[in-house]
Symmetry: C2
Subunit: 338 residues, 2 copies
């Protein structure tokens, strides 16, 4: 990505092992993320980035210090790399790894490609069994969108008997619905206005859909919750209006759990928004590596199908148009088969 | 209080029963709160308020619907009144009671007085045994400052093994230290620069004191926590610099628990402050009513002495000077014996 709206497919040198902890992976399945649309909408020129932070693939080579992987292993990569051994990784907060970082940062390679160098491979990559190709889309959601929706629900304290409001009907919002279902929520109100998406949300377990936004949407959610508001709000957008909607619909004593990357730094937190009602604000970049072990068996046995969020498939050449289609809300999430 | 700096002692009509759920209380012990200093510093003229929201007293009369109290009962009042029966009260969030409210709001009476009308008396007042007068200061802290410090610690998830930083060496900050001690914190770093106060903080269990503020203070706390930051930050001030200090010293994945009434509405919550490190922001007006049953036995058996935060005693006539002394940081907390 060279700048907003300018995505190009280019030939670059093949990745090589740079550190003894690296692995090289041939990418079999990748995709475009809703969060890729933020730079697609606003990136200034001058610092092109190699995009993509979700991929499945096959290990082709490993550095001399890699002990848990070998060529031929099928793997899934979380959207952040991490050593797996520091204090934060051991606590399951891999996105705060003291040696870790994010794909598509300066100097890093991206997942929307044929191959990639994976730093800290032992800590980063999770091995997968060889499976039917039909499972690939669902497995790929473990990289980011499913683990991110699940993180929102876990951090938000979703549990049996809880009323949950999900703000946003993108892939993460829909998989936050699925996650709330898995964690036993009693009522799940999905706030979104794209019918094809909210229909999938109902399939994932949403009990109510609120298409209204702003004050009208807030009033609707309050009406659906005996005037009290939702115990847990899962905010899966990252824009300021979504934040404002969240503290509008949360119940006193409840929790707003954010996983949409905030496109703002300051926001209301005082008496009138969070403090007065003892509202908790939580969330952050999801340590999706931590959730793979929990979620993988449910994907493998077919009891859930998070891969349904993909509604278009392209080859590498189709990536620029995939960005456009997602930005235009023509596609929900675009799968890439390099 | 007529306006900033203008506190007057006036004769007003004796309180009377207005609702069948009211009780009348003769106040035996009251005090001035750190939060009273916010209006004392900035209140515009035109809407005088009857101040004071912490008191011990003796019931003198009850309305016809009051069943749990009778004349002669010794009681302590939390800083908010509440029905004790709504969904929020039953969950222990009395400050969100659907019928409740706060003392010294328009139309309400204040605790810095000889007597007071207590709405929703059955839900609001907690009965006390008759005790030695020497216990009164410690019992009075159950109204607000001790319960508030305890709320901060409970909401923040203080537990054995946790490192806690307390921002603010006022009465609430010091009792947040005591609360963190009761909940088994391993390390308690008190951020404050008044030596007499931080000395009391050490007596309450602080293991470290950091007098530096701003970036220097943040660096000092990080140094004391192996560079990681504190698991839990208890923010007991309410000013923006205290908020900024809090996200500066919190550990990734940690929690900032605020009980200082925010004197700001907007503050940083984005990637650089809370989101990036998965930091949780929690807290609010403490439902001190909920904590009286837990904390009272420890006060009665003398194992803790939270009343040590009082370092001056005045009669009603001395209240205006008591405000001045607290505002000038000459007194930590002023006890009032009407």
């Amino acid at each position: 990505m060279y700048s907003a709206g300018d995505v190009r497919v280019e030939d670059v040198p093949d990745p090589v092992i740079q550190q003894p902890t690296d692995a090289l992976v041939r990418i079999t399945t990748s995709c475009i993320c809703g969060s890729d649309l933020w730079p697609y909408g606003s990136m200034p020129a001058g610092n092109p980035a190699r995009m993509g932070h979700e991929f499945l693939g096959v290990v082709t080579d490993v550095g001399s210090d890699v002990s848990g992987l070998q060529a031929g292993d099928h793997v899934v990569a979380p959207f952040a790399y991490s050593d797996g051994t520091c204090a934060f990784c051991r606590e399951g907060l891999h996105t705060s790894c003291v040696h870790g970082g994010f794909w598509d940062e300066p100097g890093q390679q991206g997942g929307q490609a044929e191959a990639i160098r994976v730093p800290l491979a032992d800590g980063t990559l999770a091995k997968l069994p060889e499976t039917d190709a039909a499972l690939a889309p669902s497995l790929l959601t473990l990289s980011d969108v499913f683990g991110t929706g699940y993180h929102a629900a876990v951090r938000g304290g979703v549990a049996p008997g809880r009323t949950v409001a999900v703000v946003g009907d993108g892939a993460v919002g829909l998989l936050a619905v699925l996650s709330a279902t898995l964690l036993g929520a009693e009522q799940i109100i999905l706030m979104g206005r794209h019918k094809d998406r909210t229909d999938l949300g109902r399939e994932f377990g949403a009990t109510d859909v609120v298409a209204e936004r702003g004050e009208e949407g807030v009033a609707k959610v309050r009406e659906l919750t005996r005037g009290e508001g939702a115990h847990v709000v899962l905010e899966a957008v990252g824009a300021r209006p979504a934040y404002d909607q969240s503290y509008g619909v949360v119940r006193p004593g409840g929790t707003i759990s954010r996983v949409g990357v905030p496109q703002y730094e300051e926001a209301p937190v005082g008496f009138a928004s969070l403090f007065g009602g003892n509202v908790t604000l939580t969330g952050g970049p999801a340590p999706t590596r931590a959730y793979i072990d929990t979620l993988l068996p449910k994907v493998l046995d077919g009891s859930i199908e998070p891969g349904k969020v993909f509604d278009r498939t392209v080859g590498l050449d189709g990536v620029p148009d995939g960005y456009r289609a997602m930005a235009d809300r023509e596609a929900l999430k675009v799968l890439v088969r390099p």
